[in-house]
Subunit: 142 residues, 4 copies
């Protein structure tokens, strides 16, 4: 089952709450369904102009290749040319640093992905993973 | 002053409420700041895959040329080649049918835009305009 | 001889002066050299976000096909598919309405082009042509 | 408050004056508003064809990610694949070397950005920072 709007908005709220709780810089959160299409997004005041595109690319790229964007980073460190070519093939919709987390349901099926950008990549990922868990779903970071 | 996240989320909520009240088909709502960058978005369950891109293009195109997307449609009916060329110049981020509404503040300054897609273009525009007015801002549909 | 910066800035100043004198809406003026590369640009306060791209496309398209953008419009009215395909071939850098004017020197050689957007296409063209003439050069509108 | 044309043109003049005073190679200066849209540009005689695009990408990328382009370079030196992917996500509008400087007002708010290309990246940045300070605004280089 793909993520619906109610769940997506809860994930956004939870992620922003994590950010505020930890004192992260302003976050931008994007939630995609299993097909990689936008369900919900929010960009906090003070976030720079194009954080949506970065957060989106983390989530879209994760679903595109079936691994959290942390695994995309690991691949980029080994074979930068592959990730560069994949990003080009996807029209730029792949950002290979942590913060793009795949969402799985009880049965292990992919339900969507969450992308966050704004603080360090590690903190972006933390906010995404905690938010996914807070709504009772499973986070796949790599 | 550009639209912030709190206002943008209120606009999204109001627009979805209008849609439910009138029995519109599932709506996708995108709110952009004055620079044309995503602040908030929501796509209701049952909306087709790429409604975000359509709603986004209505709002982005409105801000790009400084007129509601209803005026873009009127121009397209007179000079389709101009609107087609403008869309290409903007990387496809211009959708010339009603539903892209510029948001102005008390002083008349542009604060952002709202794009909605899902029902008829006229109904999409109605939801956008009502939502903007509900949060105390001014809607420019053409 | 291609347009240099001093001449380009004079053209911008003259065009903005024409706009103010006639009460035109805020204008955006782009001056390209003979190779189609930006030499100078100015976007007046109150002009919408992407007027640079529109003004640029008028001037770039004019140089691309060797005719003022009024002639591109006439061609679009006869063969919209040709202009649409040409715009695509040029990465969207062709806007086929008046306001893109080729600049020629005493010897008739192409020295560059001026693109203006903001008021009606006819008024945009008037501002461009008058500005070119004011600096002692020849304007080719079609 | 976003940068208006009068301020943008003063920044261009100051930057070109710095260039001449220090004997820099011909400079291209682009000033963007807070939304990343062109307000003013000038390319000095002798500058190569596409210096506008380079200067633009320094300024646009700085606003996109909320850091001067010197910080983009530092990130590129650590994670080239991230900056490469971000550039692709932004349609190529990100050039990660010094010379893209964010402009802030008295209250610290982002008012726009200046991008300069033509001499060494360090000198490009110097011209941008000095020009921003000369008009009474604050320059953020990283």
């Amino acid at each position: 089952m793909s993520i619906g709007l109610a769940t997506a908005r809860s994930v956004v709220d939870e992620a922003l709450a994590v950010g505020r709780q930890h004192g992260f810089k302003p976050l931008t959160v994007v939630v995609l369904d299993a097909g990689g299409h936008v369900v919900a997004a929010a960009r906090e005041d003070g976030a720079s102009n194009n954080r949506f595109e970065i957060a989106h690319g983390k989530a879209y790229g994760a679903l595109a290749l079936g691994m959290g964007s942390r695994a995309l980073m690991e691949r980029a460190e080994q074979q930068a040319y592959f990730i560069s070519a994949a990003a080009a093939a996807l029209g730029g919709r792949l950002i290979p640093v942590p913060g793009g987390v795949i969402v799985r349901g009880d049965d292990g099926a992919v339900e969507g992905a969450v992308g966050i950008s704004g603080d360090t990549s590690d903190n972006d990922e933390t906010a995404a993973a905690k938010a996914i868990q807070a709504v009772g779903l499973t986070a796949q970071v790599a």
